[in-house]
């Protein structure tokens, strides 16, 4: 673990450049990108898959996707960590929808391994759009907000949310849908 940029701007530039090199099938660039970003993406996979071997399989798949898709990454369109994090989250959700959650142990156990690389996701700047999203989430009815946030971070289904909250599924659906519509109206077209 060396030369990991701790400055958000330098890190962003470094990741963009690595992605462009990966897009030209540069194997060494993929290795460096992994060193720099894997713990951030693994955190997403672990949180959603809740099982180490599954999360490792998904993480492998994520970097395989990055390997094949990096050429389509447009550096100006989004922060590269948003792009990478969204791939990790979507693949993790695909996995749990395909195989289901096992619920073998508490989630908190997942975070017991210290990691000395800077958290690249934590370097995502609080842009105006991000601030607006947080403001709009804060303005929601607490049940709507909690439903959306819990669904996002855990990658949970309506059925799982209903069980966790001890309420019928239609109730959770109504919270989420009203939350989404209110959020859509508040955030606007961006």
């Amino acid at each position: 673990m060396k030369d990991h940029p701790a400055d958000p701007y330098a890190a962003r530039v470094a990741i963009c450049e690595l992605l462009q090199r990966v897009g030209t099938a540069d194997r060494a660039a993929l290795g460096t990108l992994y060193e720099l970003t894997a713990s951030s993406l693994f955190g997403i996979c672990m949180r959603i898959c809740e099982e180490r071997s599954a999360a490792e399989d998904v993480l492998h798949e994520v970097y395989h996707l990055i390997w094949t898709r990096a050429g389509s990454f447009v550096p100006t369109a989004a922060h590269p960590m948003s792009w990478l994090g969204t791939i990790a989250r979507n693949r993790s959700i695909d996995w749990v929808r395909g195989y289901g959650k096992r619920m073998t142990r508490p989630i908190e156990d997942a975070d017991d391994i210290a990691d000395d690389t800077p958290d690249q996701l934590a370097m995502l700047e609080r842009t105006e759009e991000a601030q607006r999203l947080y403001d709009c989430l804060d303005a929601l009815d607490p049940r709507q907000r909690d439903t959306l946030r819990t669904a996002f971070f855990g990658g949970l289904t309506y059925a799982q949310l209903a069980e966790d909250n001890g309420v019928p599924e239609p109730t959770v659906r109504s919270w989420a849908r009203r939350g989404l519509l209110n959020l859509r109206g508040c955030v606007g077209d961006g």
Binding site: S39, S40, H60, H64, A159, R184
Partner: protein, 224 residues
């Protein structure tokens, strides 16, 4: 797009849906561009929350098989790769012991689906940076990263020269990455040594089967 559609797009982006509901919504992203845009809008919005995930140290060596042409596409992990290689070696030894006269052939590699080829297309005028092209055999496509090759009102067209004949692979977009699906005939035939070239053509591409305008960049494919 109704408000209901927007909410559905948000539900899909969050991952709330499962089973048939999820499958139907996913199918709709393919057939309904407005809906697909709405899903993407939500994904970009929610990506601002990614900052809250906590990192977990990832295993080393996990991706050692990615980008290596002969690696299996699905992961069994390094252990599996190693153990299957050992098993193959052991089997080979066994066969040689039992039938010393026979040659043991390595298992065939499906090159069309695993090989990745790379070309750096050098500008014909000797100035500027090379244009990179990646042939992804697995995805059956070629990706070219280039901006502003063709002057206004013209199009840049990609060719592969095979058997001495240029064959069109498609038109490049004006900026960024162009991904072109490889025609089945080219997909099987692309191999190291063949030359890729870009020519300047009228809008819509060459009216003929071969280039009509100047070739502005070219370079050979190499295996990686």
């Amino acid at each position: 797009m109704t408000a209901e559609d927007d909410a559905l797009a948000g539900e899909l982006a969050l991952g709330l849906l499962e089973g048939d509901e999820r499958a139907q919504a996913l199918r709709r992203t393919l057939s309904d561009p407005d809906f697909a845009r709405a899903v993407e809008w939500w994904r970009v919005r929610f990506a601002d929350l990614l900052v809250e995930y906590r990192p977990v140290a990832a295993p080393a060596g996990l991706i050692d098989d990615i980008g290596v042409p002969t690696a299996p596409k699905t992961r069994g992990g390094l252990r599996l790769v190693v153990s299957s290689a050992l098993a193959a070696a052991a089997a080979a030894v066994l066969v040689m012991v039992l039938r010393p006269a026979e040659t043991v052939l390595p298992p065939p590699i499906d090159r069309a689906t695993t090989v990745t080829l790379l070309a750096a297309l050098q500008p014909s005028d000797g100035t500027g940076t090379p244009i990179s092209a990646v042939v992804d055999g697995g995805a059956g496509q070629v990706r070219v990263v280039a901006t502003g090759i063709a002057p206004a009102g013209k199009a840049a067209q990609l060719w592969v020269i095979r058997d001495g004949v240029p064959r069109s692979l498609g038109l490049l977009s004006g900026s960024g990455t162009t991904r072109l699906a490889l025609p089945p005939t080219e997909r099987a035939a692309l191999q190291p040594g063949l030359v890729l070239a870009i020519s300047i053509e009228p809008p819509g591409g060459s009216p003929k089967a071969t280039p009509t305008g100047p070739v502005v960049a070219s370079g050979p494919l190499t295996a990686i």
